[in-house]
Amino acid sequence: MKPRVFAMFVAPSVLMMLLFIAVPLVSVVVQSFYATVPVYEETEVESCTPGFLTQTCTRERRSVPKLDAAGQPVTTTEFIGLKAYRTLLQPEAAAAAFASGGIAALLSIDFYGALRFTLTFTLITLPLVIGLGLAIALALHEMIRKLRGPLIFASLLPFIITPVIGALSIRWLFIGDGILTAALRAITGLPISMFAQGWTIELLMLTYRVWHAAPFAFVVFYAGLQTLERDALEAAMIDGASRLQRLRSVVLPHLTPLIVFVALIHLMDSYRVFEEVVGFASQAHRISLQFLTFSFLTPDQTGNRAITRAAASSMLTMVGIVILLIPLLLRTWRQRR
């Protein structure tokens, strides 16, 4: 292809990427260094609230936001450097926690707690999703033809369900006297409450994500198995390779690029875990990095959003995902050469 033609083909995508990825990214970086602050002034305000029959009026000094002529709040924007990052990472408190060996103290700082959950969530679900996806793919591959269609459809169902809805339905099965919790209580005779402590909620979240994401791995691996050379398998059989040996020496090497691909997608997907926190209402016990950013963006009871801290936290989230992906990306890059 001529360079000119190539450029013309690529130009629209490059433009889109600049507009919708690069520009917002730069804007987030900039926002994380600047703080916009409303200007408050101290005034004496008389305010009246209703009592019964009479009204209670008080005069008191209050801090009230200054409004301009058009009735908009007056704000000032100033450069704050790394202050937002410091507020998030709390380096002094983190160092103190390290020095005293208190992992619990470190994890009680929002950011590190969220990082811990996000990382374990990602790294525990990854092998489970790949393992389960592979197992289903192999099982269906061996299945007689007639049954394959319906079974593939059934295995794909969890993947089709909207994540939040899936999480909510699992939550309703388990919360309070939910049907499954009631069943567990009846079977074990223990007073089980799945939503009373962090680790049980985390277990539900992990299970839910594996259930939800395994079908994707399955579909990819199943497609890979269709291109497996029968000759190679038969040759291995003639050489006397057992089922396990064939899997290890023929099937898995054939699927390796796909496993890397699924791992890459799953890492990116599960590192931005969010639906589970919302669906399972786990914020008292467990939050993820994405949820941390979201909570900064939610207006507090004065209607303010912590935009600067939200920008800083999303920058840190992005740095994290890049670090996590480097090994896999390096591997792909080496293979290209």
Binding site: V37, V64, P73, P299, Q301
Partner: protein, 401 residues
Amino acid sequence: MKRILFAAMLMMTPSLAEAACDYQNDVPLQSLTAAFDAWKAVTATMAECGNYRAELDQEFRTKQPAAFAANPSLYQIGGVSNGTLVPLLNAGTIRPLDALVAKYGQNLAPNQLIKIDGKVMAIAMDVNAQHLMYRADILAELGIAVPTTWDEVLTAAEKIKASGKLATPLGATMKPGFDLAQEFVNMFLGFGGTFTKPDNTPSVNNEAGLKTLAMLKKITAYLDPEYLVSESTFVQKQFQQGKIAMANLWGTRAAALDDPKESQVIGKTALAAAPAAMGSKPATTLWWDGIVIAKNITDAQADAAFRLAMQGLSARTVAAAPGAAVWLIKGYVPGKYAKGSIDSANAGAPPYPSTTVMGLMSSAIGERTADFLTGKKTAEATLADIEAAYLTRAREQGLVK
């Protein structure tokens, strides 16, 4: 999320308009309010005038500031309380109502006018407070007197638990965020604390704070173990299903306990003033609910919106739903469901302050207190955390240098 699903949308077309309204409304109007029974009653009356769409949504707290900041505003009428008035007031997105009160407000009582700096900014319709609701039958059977302090509540809870009647005798709104913050605020004020010093710096990490956390922790021993997901509706359902015997719950929820459609404990509950933390002052705050009119709309729209709102705040609403709230509207005769709120007010419960500082403090408390209840942090560390979280916000907003 669950609440979003529950958020009800009411659609009323002019053809459904009943003759009950004083006039026919011809300006299309919309309102965004909370979704409890009092708002259902008020918006239903307003809908009788036609051309009006009510959105009742418990997430209004998050939606309202942005919706009213739009130009033109997405809603003409808003439902607020003394807590949720602050963001709108700070952003300057609601208008003074003095002229409209003079034009349409003949039926308003003076104590309904919410004045900020001399200007009427909102019209109150009811008074609301968290106060004690209890199962009169269970208490009578076990010979327990109605508790007036939190220590008595705990003793009573222990008796009920020991009797084997209920495994979790208490209910409390402990969901992190606004609900949990409100439990803390009530108790902290009850223990005689003041949240901030005159220079806006926090003063939570002190004796009152420690006592508050200790008391909240003691209460959790008698709650459903999943108490960290429980908000008002959750507690209301626990009551309705006969799972709990006592709770300090919003007055606007009282009528639902006798609702034959939902409740299994009809006629068995009674109301009393909120228990005191120390002394005899009930550990609760008085709230009001009311309406505001958006600023970013035309004067004609504002005129129509206020006129319609006055229909909602008329004696017809009270007649239709006398038990839905402790109404401030003319024609209301306090009934059974008003007892808890009125007793609390008469015993000296303070109004919840509509200030920015309080908003920030409540946000910080709501987000930090759970760490103590789950055992992640000590009481001192939690209080220090609340102060730090408050200071971060207050500095970001320029309230503290």
